[in-house]
């Protein structure tokens, strides 16, 4: 593990003694350690805002940038214990290091507190994850669909959603009102 990241994980453990974090390489490649410096830590949903606040504010972490926020559906994934992981990619442009945070949630009501209070960039990406995976971000200022149209019911990037949908494209209404 990269020296910086090892220090960050140590700092996290001191600040949050009751969270395991269990750092792990993002890509599991045993023959070479090309991906070994890409590390993710696990954070439970109820701790995510505090941990993120720490990672953003602490001088040794200084993650000023939320490079991406996305989600993975681990349905039928070998050895997976949880269904969804919300994945945060954090970058520190000043200290030149990056780290990943995964927050695992499960059905029936997958919910994660929003990090829009820390990075404004999270607003639209969280809306996208909500739209396509159905993860509810509590405290989000404006949690609406962003990719699919209003009135769409499903969350199409979930693994159990069929490619052709449930007939949404067929019962779309035709706009024929010529008065506008």
């Amino acid at each position: 593990m990269d020296q910086n990241i090892a220090q960050i994980v140590a700092g996290l453990r001191t600040a949050f003694p009751d969270v395991a974090f269990s750092p792990q390489p993002l890509i599991d490649r045993s023959e070479d350690d090309a991906g070994a410096e890409q590390v993710f830590v696990r954070v439970p949903p109820d701790k995510i805002v505090e941990v993120m606040r720490f990672l953003h504010d602490d001088a040794r972490c200084d993650f000023q940038q939320l490079a991406s926020l996305t989600c993975v559906d681990y349905l039928d994934f070998p050895k997976a214990r949880d269904r969804y992981a919300v994945v945060y990619t954090l970058v520190s442009p000043r200290l030149n290091h990056r780290m990943w945070v995964k927050c695992f949630v499960n059905d029936p009501d997958p919910a994660v507190p929003s990090v829009t209070g820390i990075w404004n960039a999270a607003e639209w990406t969280e809306r996208e994850v909500f739209d396509l995976f159905g993860i509810r971000f509590s405290d989000h200022p404006d949690l609406r669909r962003i990719m699919t149209w209003d009135g769409f019911k499903a969350h199409p990037l979930r693994k159990d959603y069929p490619l052709r949908g449930h007939g949404e494209r067929e019962d779309f209404t035709v706009v024929t009102d010529d008065s506008r």
């Binding site: 199409p156 949908g165 449930h166 949404e168 706009v175 024929t176 506008r180």
Partner: protein, 196 residues
């Protein structure tokens, strides 16, 4: 005014007869075909280019293929000034209300070309969010097949629209629905603009 003969018109006498009849005939022809002649040679397309087909649409407008030869080079980005919608590319369901609104905002008479496999049938995008053929939701006059159609094929589509415009008694598209013609995709590749 229409076609008149010396029997029915009290104003023509003697030698004036023939001349007046011919003039009337000419005016009648002009009235009948003049507007269509003007329309078909100055089609103003609305380029609704949503995907890769739009690149071929641009190529059609550029100098190599030069659709100006057919009077359709004036692409307008306001539907109020257009009379030919070219839907080039796949249409997502979220985009469909936009397409329909733009179509409704175009003034009559108006015509529609559905360009490419995606606009006509959904193409390879048989997914939850892509419209499987815009003709389910609006009238289409000419389908241009291909993925993407070559610019020559699209020009063939524009010429098909010109023939439709020239035909008499074609009702406005809102009343008649789409004509649903398909252009022959086989164009000789090395004779640009000159079909054998």
């Amino acid at each position: 005014m229409g076609l008149t003969t010396s029997e029915t018109s009290p104003h023509t006498m003697g030698n004036g007869d023939t001349l007046s009849t011919r003039l009337d005939h000419l005016v009648g022809l002009l009235r009948k075909h003049g507007p269509n002649w003007a329309r078909k040679n100055s089609l103003w397309p609305m380029p609704f280019a949503t995907a890769c087909c739009g690149i071929e649409l641009m190529a059609m407008g550029a100098s190599r293929y030069d659709v100006a030869r057919f009077g359709a080079e004036v692409m307008r980005f306001t539907p109020r000034q257009c009379d030919l919608m070219i839907c080039a590319g796949r249409v997502a369901i979220k985009m469909l209300p936009v397409l329909q609104r733009i179509y409704m905002q175009m003034c009559e008479p108006k015509w529609v070309i559905s360009m490419g496999a995606c606009a006509s049938t959904g193409g390879v995008f048989d997914t939850y969010s892509v419209v499987q053929g815009i003709d389910q939701f609006m009238p289409v006059d000419v389908y241009v097949p291909g993925c993407p159609p070559r610019p020559e094929t699209l020009i063939e589509g524009v010429m098909a629209i010109q023939r439709i415009v020239d035909a008499e008694g074609v009702k406005p598209s809102a009343e008649r629905g789409g004509l649903g013609l398909t252009v022959d995709p086989v164009v000789q590749l090395n004779t640009v603009g000159r079909r054998s």
